[in-house]
């Protein structure tokens, strides 16, 4: 019961404001620690040389892009089904970060592929479905931006996100079967060798860093959306007036 009190935009604004410094600080600390372990302490890979180190960014980014899509679709659905304004705002705030992580995963994948596979891009099932995930993010963002009325925008976005979430596994498996039928890419990432524990540590620390970053940036963006949408509410006016006095 008490958790739901933070579904009110004004209370969420206060809570997230208190959390934000901690989130940014932990994102920064975890990222520096993870990068130090990954880039300095972890040994050079026997077969891939130094180029493998990009996985400390690549793999967590790919994970985040998938988790964030589900989170976005989930919050959008909650906002649509129970008319929770904050949930819809969260969904909208998650989308750009998810798209960014999907893009980072693709880009770092290309940077890793060039020295390792000898090519920037292969039509591997994972790469292709990651690219399609990026398209789904772009579609969601384009749709919610194109609709001016916030309520219609939230609901239409929710419907699209839910349809996309149902389609993600279908797309993934069709791309996988298509790939095996064409036998195009001879390289596969599924047969990864066992990872040394220090490498795994670095990757997990980086994953937590990305989580902290995602929370921080999504909360920051949600706060901006709250202020924009609730600009006529009393508490926002009071807040703005107080900040004007402080400055």
């Amino acid at each position: 019961m008490r958790l739901f009190t933070f579904a009110a935009p004004s209370r969420f604004y206060g809570l997230s404001g208190a959390l934000l410094p901690w989130l940014w600080a932990s994102a920064l600390l975890l990222a520096s620690a993870g990068l130090y372990v990954g880039f300095v302490l972890a040994p050079t890979d026997a077969t891939q040389g130094e180029a493998y180190r990009i996985i400390y960014i690549h793999v967590p980014a790919a994970w985040m892009s998938m988790v964030l899509y589900l989170a976005m679709a989930g919050w959008a659905a909650v906002g649509w089904a129970w008319n929770v304004r904050l949930a819809s705002m969260l969904a909208r705030a998650i989308a750009p970060t998810g798209a960014l992580f999907a893009f980072i995963a693709l880009w770092t994948g290309a940077l890793w592929g060039k020295p390792t596979w000898g090519t920037w891009w292969v039509w591997d099932a994972r790469l292709t479905s990651q690219l399609i995930l990026l398209f789904l993010y772009l579609g969601f963002m384009a749709l919610v931006e194109a609709i001016d009325d916030p309520k219609r925008s939230d609901q239409a976005g929710a419907l699209l996100a839910v349809i996309g979430a149902i389609n993600v596994p279908i797309i993934y498996f069709s791309v996988r079967w298509w790939n095996t039928l064409h036998q195009g890419a001879s390289v596969s990432m599924t047969a990864a060798p066992k990872m040394a524990s220090i490498m795994l540590t670095a990757m997990m620390v980086m994953t937590f860093a990305f989580w902290a970053y995602a929370f921080a940036v999504v909360f920051t963006r949600t706060r901006a959306i709250i202020l924009e949408r609730e600009q006529d509410a009393d508490w926002v006016r009071t807040l703005v007036r107080e900040e004007a006095v402080d400055a």
């Binding site: 398209f135 579609g139 384009a142 194109a146 609709i147 419907l159 699209l160 791309v175």
Partner: protein, 232 residues
């Protein structure tokens, strides 16, 4: 009681009314109805001109080219599925009439398939011949399009309802719907490649059929929800 029977009767009648009306309207605007097919033929014709006329390469490309152009032709015409009725207020009347929106959405998708998907299907063997496709592969292409083009009309209906009345509706719709049609493209074009490689295409047909059933069950519901969102 008997109200359940009445509801079923009302649904089937609204379905029939929309079907008859939209088909009659398409018949009166024949050039509009033919535009997607003309686009399809012109777009497919560009590929040999761009890539070169080697028969071996054309044969290999044909299923993909025909499928991608069919996708584009369907998406371009799907915008008008609801926007014309929306512009003159008919769509609002349909929504407030209390009739089942799901039945209306299903009828609209069927009309779109009859006026766009079916002509594309009829034209595709001719284009296949231009690409020097063998008879068995041609049959696989047509069967794949028969199962796949209704999926495009159904998914296109959802996109059309979602982007109703928006400034950049047409391009936006293509961005929204194309990623969702990728499985249909893969299995439709894959069936032809399978026949070419001497493998049975039965698995591809089954998967296309499964996708068709899934979208036939889900898309009208989603379209109805999108219409309600757009018009409230």
């Amino acid at each position: 009681m008997g109200s359940g029977g009445d509801i079923v009767k009302a649904r089937s009648s609204v379905w029939r009314v929309i079907l008859g009306r939209d088909l009659r309207m398409a018949g009166r605007r024949r050039i509009d109805a033919l535009l997607p097919v003309v686009f399809f033929v012109v777009a497919v014709t560009l590929f040999p001109l761009g890539v070169g006329p080697e028969p071996q390469m054309l044969r290999q490309m044909a299923p993909g080219v025909v499928w991608v152009c069919a996708l584009m032709a369907s998406m371009m015409s799907v915008t008008a599925m609801y926007s014309v009725d929306h512009a003159d207020g008919t769509l609002e009347q349909m929504v407030i009439s209390g009739q089942s929106l799901v039945a209306i959405a299903a009828a609209k998708a069927l009309v779109h398939w009859l006026t766009t998907g079916l002509p594309l299907l009829v034209m595709s063997p001719v284009l296949g011949v231009l690409f020097d496709v063998r008879a068995e592969a041609l049959a696989a292409l047509c069967l794949g399009l028969l199962l796949g083009t209704p999926i495009l009309s159904l998914l296109g209906g959802v996109g059309s309802a979602l982007t109703l009345g928006l400034r950049s509706g047409g391009v936006l719709l293509i961005l929204l719907v194309l990623p969702l049609t990728i499985p249909a493209l893969i299995f439709g074009a894959g069936a032809v490649s399978a026949v070419d490689a001497g493998i049975s295409p039965a698995g591809h047909y089954s998967l296309l059929g499964a996708l068709l059933i899934l979208s036939a069950l889900g898309a009208p519901l989603a379209t109805a929800a999108a219409l309600r969102i757009a018009l409230h």
